[in-house]
């Protein structure tokens, strides 16, 4: 789009342009669009960057870690403590999944903060990406719950100590409350990433369009960029924490 180059004149770049999907390798299988897009590219990049970094830094596996190895170990311990705190010993098995999930979302969010001009893109600012992740977690956790507790997992919807005449109201409420999980999980990540990036782009547009007075929005952008990096980290963290909390509910049912 032409508006992206409008910084020198009074014209402002479209703040929503950064969320547009661009097909790099158009491809269709049976009427389904499976093109390789900028979204796919950044997800692949995230996996490649993560794998390369972790394998490269752990290559020496020194007993006393060097600087880079420390980063990997720090990440590992950070997620491991989080999983252990929220799921207990039963959840250890699922640590690899939560670790991958956390690193994937974190690296995607951080890659989205790179100023790559026209090519910059954040897959987590697309609701379908976050919803697919959340739906996978939701279905997986529900299956684990039924697998561990059998049909007794349905007791989750009828908490103990509720008088029988309240059950017709309580059960629908509990079911709806359970169904909100994938929605709130995906919307939170998506909304946070999209809002932050839009705000930065709008401020950037002002800075370009206002000429000398643009120094104001430019200065404002500095703290907001910092804040956005914090949000990018925090949202990846929240996503992983919530996944382990849901997992905990499925593994140790008695909490409810």
């Amino acid at each position: 789009m032409a508006t992206a180059q409008g910084n020198d004149g009074a014209m402002m770049p479209n703040p929503m342009h950064q969320f547009e999907i661009q097909r790099y390798i158009p491809w269709e299988i049976g009427g389904v669009d499976v093109s390789f897009t900028n979204s796919s590219l950044f997800m692949v990049l995230a996996v490649v960057v993560t794998s390369t970094f972790l394998i490269f830094t752990m290559r020496g596996h020194q007993l006393v870690p060097g600087r880079l190895q420390s980063i990997s170990e720090l990440l590992y311990e950070f997620v491991r403590n989080m999983v252990r705190d929220s799921t207990g010993p039963k959840g250890e098995k699922y640590f690899p999944f939560i670790f991958s999930l956390f690193i994937f979302v974190l690296v995607i969010n951080m890659l989205g903060m790179l100023p790559l001009g026209h090519y910059s893109f954040t897959p987590t600012s697309q609701i379908i990406v976050t919803f697919a992740l959340a739906a996978l977690i939701f279905v997986g956790v529900t299956l684990i719950g039924f697998w561990k507790h059998g049909i007794g997992y349905l007791k989750l919807f009828a908490p103990s100590g509720v008088p029988w005449y309240m059950l017709p109201i309580i059960i629908p409420i509990e079911i709806i409350s359970y169904l909100t999980r994938p929605i709130s999980l995906s919307v939170r990540l998506f909304a946070n990433m999209m809002v932050g990036h839009t705000l930065l782009k709008v401020l950037g547009g002002f800075a370009g369009a206002l000429g000398v007075a643009g120094i104001g929005p430019l200065l404002l952008m500095v703290p907001f960029t910092g804040l956005e990096i914090l949000v990018a980290f925090l949202q990846a963290f929240v996503f992983a924490v919530l996944t382990s909390i849901y997992l905990n509910d499925a593994l140790n049912m008695h909490d409810h």
Partner: protein
Amino acid sequence: MKRRLDDVGARLNKISPQHEKALQNGAPMATKRQSIGRALRLGTDLVAGVAVGTLIGFWLDRWFDTSPLCFILFFLLGTAAGLLNVFRTARELQEKQMDLVKQGKLDLGKDLIDDDNDKR
């Protein structure tokens, strides 16, 4: 090499109890970090409850042609579910904090101690 490893192992064994202790003292900070994460849930949990309830009601109405009965009913149920989500998160947060206060690890100041006799 083997001797060096044993040496390091012995030194680690000596140090790790102290380290564990230091970690325990660091607990309030970790809880604070987790609290930020939980606080961020409150808003979306409430809205998601209302949205999911309303959508279910809307779809049921379309199926059974009962507009607007299900819509209204499930809007109310959804709101209740959203509030339930928020209530649960808030209670979890409070219990965590109260545990820490009881263990003397976190000082909330006098005013915030649970002194309202609600026999929870």
